[in-house]
């Protein structure tokens, strides 16, 4: 029997991996993957806590919305990355610092 705690642990692990990737990777694509991982950790939580609402299954439904939204944002993010690469010839976020003061 898989308990709620196990889901929590997996979710936390995913979140931590995602966070680590977001902070340390030097490639925008990899950062995007990290963000997806964090998002998936959140979706996993939604699904796991969905067991407390077996009547409406709002957890599962909200997770579906979140997946769709994630797909949309990823598409936007990939487009931005593509444009950034065109402009700067790099996708290392450390090199793209034109927005600073």
């Amino acid at each position: 029997m898989i308990s709620l705690t196990d889901f929590m642990v997996v979710s936390a692990a995913l979140f931590c991996i995602g966070l680590y990737m977001v902070i340390t990777k030097r490639n925008a694509i990899q950062i995007l993957i990290g963000i997806e991982l964090i998002l998936n950790a959140a979706i996993l939580n939604l699904v796991a806590f969905g067991k407390y609402d077996k009547v409406n299954n709002s957890g599962q439904i909200f997770a579906l919305f979140a997946i769709v939204l994630a797909a949309a944002t990823t598409a936007v993010a990939l487009a931005i990355i593509l444009n950034v690469y065109r402009r700067y010839k790099t996708i290392d976020p450390n090199d793209i610092n034109k927005l600073r003061d």
């Binding site: 966070l19 977001v22 902070i23 340390t24 950062i31 976020p93 450390n94 793209i96 610092n97 034109k98 927005l99 600073r100 003061d101």
Partner: protein, 684 residues
């Protein structure tokens, strides 16, 4: 009314007589230093002064005194008056000074003719005449003091006239310092008199029934009409006057400046240091005579007598022509002070007048002799002292007129009959004997000593005359090839000495050559002193004095004319005592000058090391304080500001780091902040 106009006229004449030399001094001061006219300007001024003085003298002598004064300045309630006082004493001195100054001026025009600074010389000389003439006629002690200082000052200038000679400079310093001692005395006496009597007026103070004559000393308190104070102050005032007299008139113990003062030109010695200025002390005594009573008079007599004797013994062995005459002057001044002390007021001033003529004459003669010796020295390039009498001799053939007048002057100095010196000197001796009568043996010693002194005078005068004018010219022994071109000099030399020689004879003073009591000058001044009583001394003393004087004279003549005759031993204690001037200079040098110098160097040391050291310490301390302040300012005040600035800057720098445009860094920071918040939340 007529009297009034008469006195106004006399006062105007007096002012003119006094002011003319000052005017001449001023003109000479403006003339170039080598001007030929300087001498004649001064001479004409003094000639006019002399004529005016004679007119004033004729008007005042034995008439009512003329006294006029004005308010000079006012201090609080006290009005200080200034004015002129013409009585017998002042007009006598007025005439005497201008009369002596006239031949000296004429003589000086020739004597100083080749000096490079002759205009300065006549400036000083005229200035001296002005000061001296003013000194004798002023009526206020303040003015008296002022002119007293001025005569001292002009004497200082003239002693050091040849300012390139070290000895002259030393001598004028010595004279000035010695006179300062006396000036302090006079000043303190004036202050005390003013405190007691509230006036400086000589007439009010010292008249026949003036304030001083009316004051008494009772139970140790000095009571006058105007106030009273402890009796000690009266003695202090008398001592002050005495000090002033001793310094100016060269009395023991302040006489040592006078022989050194002979470093000045001889004509100056004749006028200032023989005839007039040194007599100022006696004149001062004459002015303030009522102050002195009893013991004070005795002190005067003893000092005068001792000075006369001491100076005469010193004059016995000196070899410098002018020095002998200087000591002779001191000796004669001693006689005058002695006369004042024994109450022979008139005789003292009489002697002052006669002494002025014959001593001035002797100095002028000495001047001619020295002048001629100087010529011989320069002509032959000799290395000799032109004033050394041991090198002279036989000059009577070369300088006949000089010789004759010198003999007259010497006889007057010795006091032989038919000369003026006889009249005045015997007057003093006779009155000294009368004074000592009925007193103890010690008092009898004073006239005896005076008598002895007059014989010593006869001896040293003869020695001087013989060594200079008789025998052979001793210079030729050492320098046989020396060429001698000597002569009496021109009219400017001859006229003054002949004039003075005539004044040394008796007819000028008395038609009776044997009795001083008949001299007009004496009777004109007797009002203040005691009157003579006929006594046996009037016949014994003159006879005794003169017989022994003549014997001494002859003995000295014989001793010194015979080249191989009797010679005095020149090594005994008495000889050395006399030759070294009683060692007084050495004593002063050791006990006064050296300690003073040592004191000076000690105070100098203290000044250098203690006072300056203290100041340096202060400087250093304030330097350190300043440095400390600077350091504080730099490091603490500025440092605080810099700290603030750098804090702000570092905060800024710190904050800036977060704005580096790296997106991951932002994320990381956010994560850290969130974590911190959570940790804080858990902990708190």
């Amino acid at each position: 009314m007529e009297d009034f106009l008469h006195s106004i006229q006399l006062l105007n004449y007096t002012v003119a007589a006094v002011a003319l030399p000052l005017f001449a001094a001023f003109i000479n001061f403006c003339l170039p230093v080598k001007s030929k006219w300087a001498g004649w300007v001064s001479t004409i001024a003094i000639l006019l002064s002399c004529v005016l003085s004679a007119r004033v003298f004729a008007g005042v002598w034995n008439n009512n005194p003329v006294h006029a004064q004005h308010v000079w300045f006012t201090v609080g309630q006290t009005e200080v008056m200034a004015g002129l006082l013409l009585n017998n004493l002042s007009v006598l001195l007025l005439l005497l000074v201008s009369l002596i100054a006239l031949p000296v001026h004429i003589y000086s025009t020739a004597y100083m003719a080749h000096d490079d600074r002759r205009s300065r010389y006549f400036t000083y000389l005229s200035f001296f005449c002005f000061s001296m003439l003013a000194l004798v006629v002023v009526d206020s002690l303040v003015l008296f003091y002022a002119f007293w200082e001025l005569v001292g000052f002009s004497s200082y200038l003239l002693i050091g006239f040849w300012l390139t000679r070290n000895k002259a400079v030393q001598a004028n310093k010595k004279a000035f310092i010695m006179n300062r001692i006396g000036d302090i005395g006079l000043l303190s006496a004036i202050i005390i008199l003013f405190t007691q009597y509230h006036t400086f007026d000589i007439v009010q103070l010292f008249a026949q029934k003036g304030l001083v004559a009316q004051s008494v000393i009772k139970d140790g308190v000095w009571i006058a009409a105007t106030g009273q104070m402890p009796a000690i102050w009266q003695y202090v005032a008398c001592a002050g006057i005495f000090l002033a007299v001793a310094a100016k008139s060269a009395q023991f113990p302040l006489h040592t400046w006078l022989p050194d003062a002979m470093e000045g030109p001889t004509s100056v010695s004749a006028l200032i240091h023989a005839a007039t200025m040194v007599a100022a002390g006696v004149f001062l005594l004459g002015r303030v005579y009522p102050m002195f009573t009893g013991t004070e008079l005795t002190i005067l007599a003893v000092t005068g007598c001792f000075t006369a004797f001491m100076a005469a013994t010193i004059a016995l062995t000196q070899n410098d022509l002018k020095r002998i005459l200087a000591y002779s002057t001191i000796s004669q001044l001693g006689f005058m002070i002695l006369a004042m002390g024994v109450g022979a007021y008139a005789s003292s001033l009489f002697h002052l007048a006669t002494h002025a003529f014959f001593k001035c004459l002797l100095f002028l003669v000495a001047g001619i002799v020295i002048h001629e010796m100087q010529h011989v020295k320069e002509e032959n390039n000799l290395d000799i002292d032109a004033q050394d009498i041991s090198l002279m001799g036989g000059l009577r053939k070369k300088l006949p007129i000089t010789f004759i007048v010198a003999v007259i002057g010497s006889l007057a100095l010795v006091g032989l009959p038919l000369t003026s010196g006889y009249l005045s000197k015997d007057g003093i001796l006779i009155q000294a004997f009368e004074w000592s009568e009925g007193k103890s043996v010690l008092f009898k010693l004073i006239p005896v000593l005076a008598l002895l002194t007059s014989w010593l005078t006869a001896f040293y005068v003869t020695r001087l005359m013989v060594k200079v004018f008789f025998g052979e010219f001793r210079l030729l022994k050492s320098y046989p090839n020396a060429k001698l071109h000597m002569h009496d000099g021109g009219l400017q030399y001859k006229l003054p000495i002949i004039l003075l020689a005539v004044c040394c004879l008796f007819p000028l003073f008395s038609f009776n050559p044997f009795s001083y009591g008949h001299a007009w000058l004496f009777s004109g001044l007797t009002s203040l002193g005691n009157h003579e009583g006929e006594s046996i001394y009037h016949t014994i003393i003159p006879v005794l004095v003169n017989i022994i004087s003549v014997v001494v004279l002859y003995a000295a003549y014989v001793i010194y004319t015979k080249p191989n005759g009797f010679k005095f031993q020149q090594s005994g204690f008495l000889y050395r005592l006399s030759y070294n001037q009683w060692y007084l200079d050495a004593i002063y040098q050791r006990f006064v000058v050296k300690p003073v110098l040592r004191l000076c160097s000690a105070t100098f040391w203290v000044d250098r090391n203690v006072i300056d050291g203290f100041l340096h310490l202060l400087t250093r301390i304030s330097g350190y304080i300043a440095k400390l302040t600077a350091w504080t300012d730099e490091h603490i005040v500025d440092g605080f500001l810099h700290l603030m600035a750098s804090i702000v800057q570092s905060i800024g720098n710190f904050a800036r780091r977060f704005q580096n445009g790296k997106i991951q860094y932002y994320l990381y920071s956010m994560l850290v902040i969130v974590l911190v918040l959570f940790i804080l939340k858990i902990l708190i």
